[in-house]
Amino acid sequence: MKFLSLIAAVVSVPALLAVYVFAAERVIAGKRGTGKVSGARPWLWLAPSFILLIVFLAYPIVNTFLISLKDAKADGFVGLANYAHVFTDPGMLVVLRNNAAWLIFFTLGTLGFGLLMAVLSDRVKWEPVAKAAVFIPMAISFVAAGIIWRFMFEFRPAGEAQIGTVNAVLSAIVPAFEPKAWLFDTSSNNVALIAVGIWMWTGFAMVILSAGLKAIPVELIEAARIDGAGELQIFMRVILPLAAPTIAVVATTLMVNVLKIFDIVYVMTNGALGTEVIANRMYKELFNYRNFGRAGAIAVILLVAVAPVMVINIKRFKESRKANA
């Protein structure tokens, strides 16, 4: 039964779309010369996309704004009460603090490691292997990564054999190291989660930065070298300024993604012990507390936080279009 519906979906959607376009073309071509009808063609081609975009994105966005002004059941309007709650509730303030920490440290960490890998791997013969090693986490789910790192951070009391790699390695190399429950200790749990995020996304930053660095003309770097510049100087004075636009692209992408971070926290701590972030809080408001209004307000805050990046994306797109024209 399941597979019949799978096959039905996989076969019927493309087939129906093809029939639809050819049928539309027959109607349009049959009335050629009227002009008015052939003007309908682009709209007929866009219609399937636009219907989905309106029903599942555009309308819900507007609707969520309205819901954010309503009560728990989304019936009566309550004004800005939900927003007032979001910015005064102690639990929510922790959430906002955590998202700020993710935004700063995840973005800087991922950019830093990505840049390091892009610059260093460019200078060795085994570049493809090194890059693949760092890129692999991009292919797996946050859920799998969550399991991997729960296992890495696994804690056993001092004296017992540590089965978590992090505690075992630190015990071996740091004298008098006390094994730590990384995910439960409130001084380290957010750092531990952010580290997992960095581990997952560095491959992304590396690939894009590496493409950007390879576009820098070799002559420029050679010229600086002949002028007696050291490697560090070349990096700071030549490579970094030229790679700045690429770094900006990576940074904005990382920031949009980190604001929406959900899976890592859901799997590793489920927001316990001061690790909750916006997306997890919204999920809880929605499914545990059944409070549509508050969940809506949290979603709106997320959208507002992402909005500057959307504007940057659009500006960048307009510029690149101008450059190509």
Partner: protein
Amino acid sequence: MRDATRTFGARGKVRRLSGRVLLNLTLIAVCAIWLVPTVGLLVSSLRPKELIAVSGWWEALASPLRLTLENYVNVLSRANMGTSFLNSLMVAIPGTLIPMCIAAYAAYAFAWMEFKGKEWMYLVVIALIAVPIQMTLIPVLRLFNTLGITGSFMAVWLAHAAYGLPFSIYLLRNFIGQLPRSMLESAFIDGASHPVVFFRLVLPTSLPAIASLGIFQFMWVWNDLLVSLIFLGGTPDVAPMTVTIANMVNSYGGGWEYLTAAAFISMALPLVVFFALQKYFVRGVLAGSVKE
């Protein structure tokens, strides 16, 4: 002068050599940090239950080698992972194919047709790429509840189709828009209609872009937790692997013999896809630097 260059050269050689060693060591260290977690998981998943809990996975590498597939057998038969694997396919295959099919027509229209409002409509599509799906969850969930399809595959297919559209349209339009104008124009002069040009000319030449997008979208849907969690729920007969594993974490707690094997089963397909089609996947990621 000549002496100076010679000593400089010799010293430079030593310096360059030590620089190379340092460079390689740093890279190896970073790669090790990135590989060890995954390797540790794989090794652990192959160790007997009673050993996982009492000694580090690295001790499995010492002799005598005691590896077993028992954990995989258990997790596939008892913990519902077999069904979940099929459910993941049930979600991911249509969740990849449907948005691509729909987006291709829109991308073609944006690239090769003229109509009023084209510019700003395309800007809206680009803006939608970054919209957090959280912003849509409540209304869409209520819509699905009204239609009575919450918890069915139909619901996630529709959701993934819509959420995948803006990026799919963007990526395909970029590629289709760069096809040579002369190629399309000569086809039109020969009397070909738009659908014929689309199927005979545009689709075949766009295969590399379609492959990149397909892999990217497949990985995205296969690895998704949130959309399935909300629209499909955790009932065993529909839950995909990400949801099942997330539930296992809560119920089994530290049952590492289950969790390690389950996590690796969920990673197997993406890893195969990654190693087989790395080029296309990376290309998709490069094109997707505005994605979400």
